[in-house]
Symmetry: C2
Subunit: 436 residues, 2 copies
């Protein structure tokens, strides 16, 4: 057997412990697949004395993970601490500058600083691998970089946040309200005490911007993702979507539109219930890729958790181990150095043509529908269907409209006008209907 | 740019032409992703004068593709002729013995002779790559070999034949009979004039045996796949399955069962309509992998056709190009040489516990159900539900039973007894119900 791959692991939360477990439980399997044994040399985490249910006594403990960057014993540093700034960023930057390969699961770091980091990796000619950063149970980074290398990618869609998908699934299955399901998810540990990173779409948008840069070969730009979370989705929306044959998903989309512009959106959408992506429930993630030769391909798997994310880290470890003598370059996008990537021209809602779902909360009085449809007409939006949910004269009721194909910017403008009507009692809820 | 990868293409059907088109239309994209330009040196096919809609005048024409094996100009030979024997086998064997890397889309060849070929590749230390042999639009070989390298695979399921899935989908959507839909599929070019290779499950079983060997690290053995096709599925079966909330799919399964035995089955099964795999319709394929860390992951994509299969070939081309200086070994299963792979211990229907669907065609007379259920009881099979479809005294009617969890061997034995009853008018149809 050739010389071992020696790794340092920074961060011993769920994922870090998962990686240690796989390496401890299956050393021979991993050695066969990696072409060499994989040895943990040192580990680092916040608390040296915490009981993690694994034996780490054989590894050197470092109070400061940054020391791994300069440690000549290490072939690769595995960063599993998380966070876009601070120690994680510091460690990864030092490693890359020092010519040390890095494996990371840190989507926030990559979404915020991916371009600089990739440029550092390029300049030191070392790999920066991050399969675990997006949808652990789905080999999406490898599929985009290698599996679909023969394709121009036209679009990528994704259900990228398991917490949101779990909440939306629970709301549908139980008919309960968002706040109620969120509270339960927090009690069960599926949602954080401060859930905004998840339910406001930030985490999913981080992942989308990583996939988008990879898919289109452009510089990543997280600030160019239009983001809307799921807090405003009501039990009524879920029921209406079901009635229309759809499911509500927090769905990311990155798509090349006219003149080579790219749009990046993360927002709740309606997808057909009888489609594979419509059936992706609970904590599962999904990524759908449209390539010009391969057509549409969908990958579904667990998005987070110890096992799936550790599995993704192992995939990167095996890749580094196999190519230790002739390192993979940083290659954020195929063979193109990060700084030579195209600057994308970003599009907006004016580039999106789709059918839309609109829910209005209105006072149940004669004439309200005439006012609403007049505004839609003025924005050249034609209505496909109207459903009033219940009847209670002079009380607020929900009206659900679906539109024929319309421009998203027109729909947003029209809904802004509709919101100003006297009889309209709340901000309209607008969702794109996506056919797969 | 480093030196080009020089390829020879044997076979210019749909897939061969698709590969030529991608290389002609996107030379810069492929060069960036492969780390070097990819040049077609020579091509070979049956008919030199056929109009294929592509310009091949720049490539040397070989009447005999076998000459590629000894051609020192070629870095890799791409075999896209098909067929388990004859020229394709001859070419691939000569290449591997001569130390020439091979990329192939030939599932029949690999299913029948994969072990010998992998051993030749090992002994010459050259890559034998075959992403296009199974489900072109799904990067399943790469996912098993690399993406899920950190896992022990417990099971793999697959919808692996687009023709069968198209026929079953059409039967469901139109209510028509198998023969009728098959005839139309033949007219549309979705099914061959002799459809047996597809509809009798052989093609799908070829693919399953390739995936199974890869998933479990054992020597492939196509003869150990229990195969049943879809000819016997009636419109009534489809309607009953729908009524019960299921879809019928020709579903492959390879699973590790008790004592490390492996079962390989390819047969029509019932899967929940509201599951991602249940929503895989038409010519799409799907593969579901259960790994011990990653959990369940599902990959869906087009199974065949020029674009998807050519895309898979390009994935292999890019892999070979990137590692030209330090070739990937044959590695049929991770780092293990083919001849050192485990000999699997194969299991059978006695290893399968599942719920079952049983359709009986019986004369509508009092007492028939008592006879049927007595036989089931004698085989320790307990009935979950019974539905009689229609009533017509003294005429044949369908009875649909579903069982509680039972052993497949017991169900088969019971149905053999039931078939002998006087009032039973046709072979019972038995299908496993698989929950996802």
């Amino acid at each position: 057997m050739t010389k071992p791959l020696r790794v340092g692991i920074a961060g011993l939360g769920n994922v870090g412990c998962g990686v240690v477990k796989i390496l401890q439980q299956y050393p021979d399997m991993i050695a066969a697949r990696a072409g060499r044994p994989v040895e943990i040399v040192c580990v680092s985490a916040r608390d040296a004395n915490k009981d993690r249910g694994i034996d780490i006594s054989a590894y050197e403990w470092l109070d400061s993970p940054e020391r791994m960057a300069g440690d000549p014993r290490l072939d690769v540093v595995i960063e599993l601490m998380g966070g876009a700034e601070g120690t994680a960023r510091n460690l990864v930057e030092r490693c890359l500058k020092a010519g040390k390969p890095v494996i990371t699961a840190n989507k926030a770091l990559l979404a915020e600083h991916g371009l600089e980091l990739a440029a550092m990796a390029d300049s030191s000619v070392v790999p920066l691998l991050y399969e675990a950063a997006v949808a652990g149970g789905i080999p999406i980074i490898k599929t985009l970089r290698e599996g679909f290398a023969g394709n121009q990618i036209n679009a990528i869609y994704g259900i990228l946040n398991g917490t949101c998908n779990y909440i939306l699934t629970e709301m549908r299955e139980t008919g309960r309200a968002f706040d109620d399901v969120l509270k339960e998810a927090q009690q069960k540990g599926y949602a954080e005490a401060d859930p905004s990173f998840d339910v406001d779409g930030i985490d999913a948008a981080h992942k989308l911007s990583i996939l988008s840069a990879l898919a289109f070969g452009v510089k990543p730009d997280f600030s160019k993702v239009d983001i809307q979370g799921i807090r405003h989705i009501t039990a009524d929306d879920i029921a209406c979507a079901t009635q229309l044959g759809y499911r509500i998903k927090l769905l990311g989309m990155a798509r090349r539109v006219a003149d080579g512009r790219i749009v990046q959106r993360m927002e709740p959408c309606l997808v057909p219930e009888h489609s594979p992506i419509g059936a992706v429930d609970g904590v599962y993630n999904a990524v759908l890729i449209e390539g010009n030769f391969v057509g549409s391909s969908l990958l579904v798997g667990r998005g987070a958790g110890e096992g799936p994310t550790a599995s993704a880290v192992l995939s990167d470890i095996v890749d580094v181990a196999r190519h230790l003598d002739k390192p993979l370059a940083g290659r954020p996008v195929y063979g193109i150095p990060a700084l030579e990537l195209e600057d994308a021209v970003w599009g907006g809602p004016e580039d999106i043509l789709a059918h839309f779902y609109i829910r209005l909360s209105v006072l149940d009085k004669p004439g309200v529908l005439a006012d609403v449809t007049a505004i839609l007409r003025d924005h050249k939006i034609s209505v496909e269907s109207v459903i009033q949910r219940g009847r209670s004269p002079d009380q607020p009721v929900s009206i659900i409209l679906s539109t024929h194909e319309s421009r998203q910017s027109d729909v947003v403008a029209a809904c802004s006008g509709i919101a100003d009507l006297d009889l309209v009692r709340a901000e309209p809820t607008v969702m794109r209907i996506v056919q797969f």
